[in-house]
């Protein structure tokens, strides 16, 4: 393996602008193509990684040891082998391939992980929500939980800086709220917002 593995046209945390993503033994970095601040993640903070289909090609989700998640998307399907080796050899992490549910169902099970809540349909995630993107949750009715997302001034974010509270407003359609029906629970607080 080369000392540096490099990938072009990669988006960091759903940024509008793509950039170059580089992996080295010491960690990973992402630099916007048009110039700007480079984001880096030290190898000591890489706890695991997942590979899955995303809107813009394939996505590598890096699970940080300090419980946040970094999303890198825009990879090609054939990049999997290369990336799998990078994570195994340099970060002692398994690049776990995750297939998402494509059934089109709205029922399943919301499962609360370390950094995100995953809505699973027949044991496959249909989607995940990082806790960092949640601005507020409340009990909207009997068995109904409303989750609000941090969209901020939305249209003006250009996504060069990764981080919290931006993913919901990354696309042309910004997700502002999601409501769940959870049977049999009336007062349990389902999701804690705030910084993860």
């Amino acid at each position: 393996m080369a000392a540096i593995e490099s990938f072009d046209n990669i988006y960091l945390d759903l940024s509008r602008e793509n950039g170059k993503c580089r992996f080295a033994e010491s960690g990973l970095g992402w630099k916007p193509a048009g110039g700007g601040e480079t984001f880096t993640l030290d190898q000591s903070n890489i706890g695991g990684a997942q590979w899955s289909r995303a809107a813009r090609g394939y996505e590598v989700k890096v699970l940080q040891r300090n419980s946040g998640v970094i999303q890198l998307d825009g990879f090609q399907q054939e990049d999997y082998e290369r990336l799998s080796k990078i994570f195994k050899n340099w970060y002692s992490a398994n690049l776990e391939s995750k297939e998402h549910s494509l059934r089109g169902w709205n029922w399943g099970k919301a499962e609360f992980g370390k950094a995100e809540v995953s809505f699973n349909v027949q044991n496959r995630p249909a989607f995940e929500i990082p806790y960092s993107e949640i601005s507020n949750t409340n009990l909207a009715g009997r068995n109904e939980i409303a989750v609000e997302f941090a969209v901020g001034d939305g249209a003006k974010t250009n996504g060069a800086t990764p981080g919290k509270g931006k993913k919901a407003s990354a696309g042309r359609d910004q997700l502002v709220e999601m409501r769940f029906y959870i049977p049999g629970t009336t007062t349990r607080k389902e999701a804690e917002g705030g910084d993860a």
Binding site: L14, S52, R53, A54, A55, R56, E59, Q71, D73, H100, L102, R103, G104, W105, N106, W107, G108, K109, A110, F119, A126, F127, E128, I129, P130, E133, R142, N143, E144, V151, G154, A155, K167, A168, A170, G171, R172, D173, Q174, L175, V176, E177, M178, R179, F180, Y181, I182, P183, G184
Partner: protein, 136 residues
């Protein structure tokens, strides 16, 4: 069955089998209506998430200042007060996504999407009814 006892039964449905069946437009991370597969694809944290038309109750558009909102409501238990067995569920003890709300400054687009979803829903209900009439 021949005895005609089963009146309302949950019928399974599926949007896609493989991820290469998504319309190419999902790249833009916007809402995509896939007529052919009777599916609305909604962007959630960068992931295209399919919702079959059978899961959808309705969609509506509203405005607030410079923003327009599109709210998609899904079918879930405990909604249809008074007509309790109208809607069958495969698993009423599951968790349900009940609604998703998006915003955009392009209100015309949301009016159009809400309209398309309503039409798709209407056609699907009509088709189901025709099928049922044929079976009777």
């Amino acid at each position: 069955d021949k005895n005609g006892v089963e009146i309302k039964k949950f019928k399974r449905f599926e949007s896609y089998k493989r991820d290469n069946q998504f319309p190419p437009k999902v790249r833009d991370m916007g809402i995509v209506i896939d007529q052919k597969n009777q599916t609305i694809v909604l962007p959630v944290m960068g992931r295209p998430v399919p919702f079959h038309i059978n899961t959808i109750k309705n969609a509506s558009k509203s405005d607030e200042g410079e923003w327009s909102f599109l709210r998609v409501n899904f079918l879930s238990p405990g909604q249809g007060v008074g007509r309790k067995d109208d809607q069958p569920f495969e698993d009423a003890s599951a968790h349900f996504v009940r609604s998703l709300t998006f915003r955009s400054t392009d209100g015309d687009r949301y009016a159009e999407i809400a309209n398309q979803i309503s039409n798709l829903k209407r056609e699907s209900v009509k088709k189901e009814q025709e099928k049922k009439d044929m079976e009777d």
